[in-house]
Assembly symmetry: C2
Homo-oligomer: 474 residues x 2
Amino acid sequence: MSTSLPSNEGVLERLRGIVGASNVLVNSDDLAGYRMDGRGMGGGLPLAVVRPVDEQGVSALVRLTADEGLRLVVQGACTGLAGAGLAENGDLVINLDRLSRYISIDPENRTATVDAGVRLSALNAAAAEHGLFFPVDLGADPSLGGMVAANTGGARLLRYGDVRANLMVLDVVMADGKGTRLTLGAPLWKNNTGIDLKQLLVGSGGSMGIVTRVTVALQPLPSVQLTAMVALRDPHKVLDLLRVLEGGLGTLLTAFEGIGPKAFEAALGHVPGLRAPFAPTPPYVVLLEISAGAAFEAEWLEEQLAELLAPLMEGDDAPILDVAIDHRDGLWAIRHAVPEGLRASGTVVACDIALTRGQVMRFRDDVAARIATEVPALVPHDFGHIGDGGLHYNCVWPRDSGPVDAAAVERARAIIFDTVVREYGGSFSAEHGIGPRNISNYRRFVSARVRKLTGAVQRLFAPVPGGRIDFGME
Amino acid sequence: MSTSLPSNEGVLERLRGIVGASNVLVNSDDLAGYRMDGRGMGGGLPLAVVRPVDEQGVSALVRLTADEGLRLVVQGACTGLAGAGLAENGDLVINLDRLSRYISIDPENRTATVDAGVRLSALNAAAAEHGLFFPVDLGADPSLGGMVAANTGGARLLRYGDVRANLMVLDVVMADGKGTRLTLGAPLWKNNTGIDLKQLLVGSGGSMGIVTRVTVALQPLPSVQLTAMVALRDPHKVLDLLRVLEGGLGTLLTAFEGIGPKAFEAALGHVPGLRAPFAPTPPYVVLLEISAGAAFEAEWLEEQLAELLAPLMEGDDAPILDVAIDHRDGLWAIRHAVPEGLRASGTVVACDIALTRGQVMRFRDDVAARIATEVPALVPHDFGHIGDGGLHYNCVWPRDSGPVDAAAVERARAIIFDTVVREYGGSFSAEHGIGPRNISNYRRFVSARVRKLTGAVQRLFAPVPGGRIDFGME
C-alpha cells in the first residue's frame, strides 16, 4: 500500500539513485517503525525514509533536499524521548541505521571511531574485546550519532560525565544545502586548537548538521563491581549517605540512583521476576554502585562499604533502615524495571529535570504537595540519578482513575517545570535533549537574548531548512 | 614617568570614571608586570591597564573601547603561555585581577561559583574547607577566567578532564560594543537545554567575550595519595606500564607523567634541594599518582602497586629497572622542577603538542633523529602528560653552544609541528590554547573551511575589534 503521491515519483527516483532502491522506504507499513521513538508513536507521515550507507550518500541527500525544498529530519535508533528524530508529514527522514559498518578501536589510545549509526551495544561489544567500554550508560540502545545529538547522560555521569565529556571527533555533513563535509576535532585526549565547533552539534537534536562518524573516549572495564540498595528512613538523609560514600570511596563510586516509594512499588509490583530486597517499602531507596580495577576483590570492597555505612545504621532513628548487597545485576534490574512498572500502572507523564544536588529532596516535597492539591488524580512516581541531581519527575494517572484529563495533565506539567526552573533554578531538560516534545519549554525558559544568538549560530551551520528544531526566536 | 600621550587624556578620564583612578595604570613602571606572561616579556605598550572590580565595570569598558575605536585585550593572572593576554602598542588591557571578591562553594552540589579573577589557589583554599578541590591541576596559579580562555588541561586530565569537562556556568560580557551580559548554563551536573553557547568561550583566548564569573564542578579531596617514580629500561615500554596500571587500579590512577632523560637530568642538576631517586639516569622515567578516599590506607595501596608492578620487574630484560615510592610530594617536586631545570640549561624552545597515546614514543624517536640531523645544536628535553598523550616537546639550545641561531630554531619548530600534525595527526596545541605566539600554526594547520566557519561564529559574539585572536581567515 503505497502512500506516496505520484508527483513525488521524481524525487523518489533521485533518492533511489543515491542510496539504492532497497534503502528508500515509502510504504506506510515499512514506515511505521520509523514513526515512533522511545515514547511511542509520535511522528507524521514522511515522504520517505532513506538509509544512506556512507557519508557521500548523506551529503548527496542534503543537496537533494535543498534542491527539492524538502525538510530533512535525521534519525538514529529511534530511542530518543524528545521527538527530535520524528518527521512531520512530507519531511524526508534520513535514518542512519545502515551507516554502521565502521567500528575501529584504538586500545592504546583508549578511543573508538565508529559510524554514527553504530549502536551503543555494538560499540561496547567491540570495546570489551580490549577490556574497555564507553562509559555513558543508558537503559536504551541508541546510536552514537543520536547520543551526540541528545548529549545523553545516564546513570554513571557522576563518575564519567556525559557524551560531551567523552567526545573527541565528529565527522559532520552540514545542513547547508551543499552537504559540506567537516571533520571537527582529532582523536586526542588533549587538543586546543581554537574554538571547538563540534560542541555546537552536541545536544543539537540533529538540527545543526548530520553527524556521520564519531571518535569517543573509552574507559577500562572494571574488574569488580558491587551494587547495594539502601533503604532510607527519610529521603532527606540522602545527602548524608552521598557525602560518606564520596569521601570514603572517592572515584570508585560509579552510580548513586534514587527511587521513590511509589516508583519502587510499581517496578516490583508489575515487572515479573524481581525480588523485593526490603519489606515494607521504605520512604526512599538508593542504589549505589562501586567499580574497581583488577587489584581489588569484591569481598574487600564489601567490607569497606559495610564499615562506611555502619555509623549511619546505629541507633533507633538511624538514617539507614536496611542494606541489600549484590555482586551481580539483580539490584540494577529493579532500577531498570521502574519505567516499565510505571507504564503498567497507568498513563505516564514524564518530566526529565535536574536540580542542584542539595535541592532535589526539597523540590520533591514541594512539588508533590502542589500536585496533590491541584491535580489530585495524578500520582508522583519519581526516580532518578540523584548523585548528579537528575530527576525523572514522572507521574502516573492510574488505570483506575478514569480517563486522563489532558488539561489537568498540562496543569501538572506546568507546575513541575515552572517550579523547577523559576523557583529552584533547575533544568527543564536534564539528559533527553531538545525536540518537538519540549521545544515549548525551550521557548518559555531560555532567554530571548540567548535564543537570538543561538538562532544566528544555527543559521551559520544550517542555513536551509533542516532538522525539527529552530533554536532561534521562532 | 608617564608614557601616555596628551591626546589620550580624555580616554583616561573616562576610564577613571568607570573603575576609579587607582585602577587605571598608565606609567610604564606600573605597566611592566602586565607586559609579561608565563613565557616572560612579550607584550607591547598598552594605552592603559584597567582593573574593573565588577561585571558592570567590564560592560562599561567594552562600550568605551567601541566608542573610542580601541582594541580591548583581556588579561587574567598573566600565567598564560600563548600570549593571548598580552597587548600590542595602544591596546586597552582589561586585567581581571580585582574582579575576585566573589567565592561561593556549594558543598552539597560539589560546585564553586567564583569571579573570573579568582586564582586557582584561592578557589582550592575555599574548596578545601569542605573537603573538595577543583581537579584541573597546573604548575602555575592562573585565574579561573584565564583557565576557561585557555581550556587548561594539566597533569590530572587523565582522570578528571580539562576545564571544559568541569564547567557549568559562564557569566560573559560580549565583545559586541554594547557590553551585553549573558549567563550561559546553570550550576547543574545535568543540563541539556539547547545548543551550549558557553562552549564557544572555552579555549577562545578572551577573543569571544569576557568571562566575568564561572561555576565549576569540584571533586572530593582524596584522603590518601601515593606517588611512585618508575625507571624504564626502554621508553617504548611505557604503554605496558600504563595498561597494567589502568587495568589494575581503574579510576584510582590520577596521573601518569613522563620525563625523558635529558629533562630529568636538567631538573636534578640545576634545581637545588632535589634528591635523585635513581642512578644512573634511566632511559625513561614515569611519575604515577594514585588517589583514594578515606576507606583506603596508603600501605594497602602501596602493596597493590607493588603486586601490579612485580611482573614487570622480573628477568634480566625486565621493563622496569627500579621504582621509588613516596607518600609526600618529593617526587612531584622533581617533575615540577623540569621547566626550571630546562631554563637553567639554556634557551628553551617550547612546543605544547599531543598525540594518540600509542604514538608518543615513536614520534619522539622520529623527531629527535630529524632534529639531530637538521639542527644538531638543539637538544630535545621532552617531558609531558603521556597518560593523555600530551607532550611538552621542549628543546634546549645549551648555554655553551654559542649564540642562538634563530633561523635554525624556526627550522626545528617547523620540523616538530609539521611532523606531529601532518605525519602523526596530532595537535599543535595541547593545553596552552591559542594566542599570538601560535596563531601562525592555527592558520597553517586548521583547514580554511573550519577557519571560515569559526570566524563567522566569532563575529556573532565579537563583531567589533576585541581580543588578540582572529579565528577567521585573517
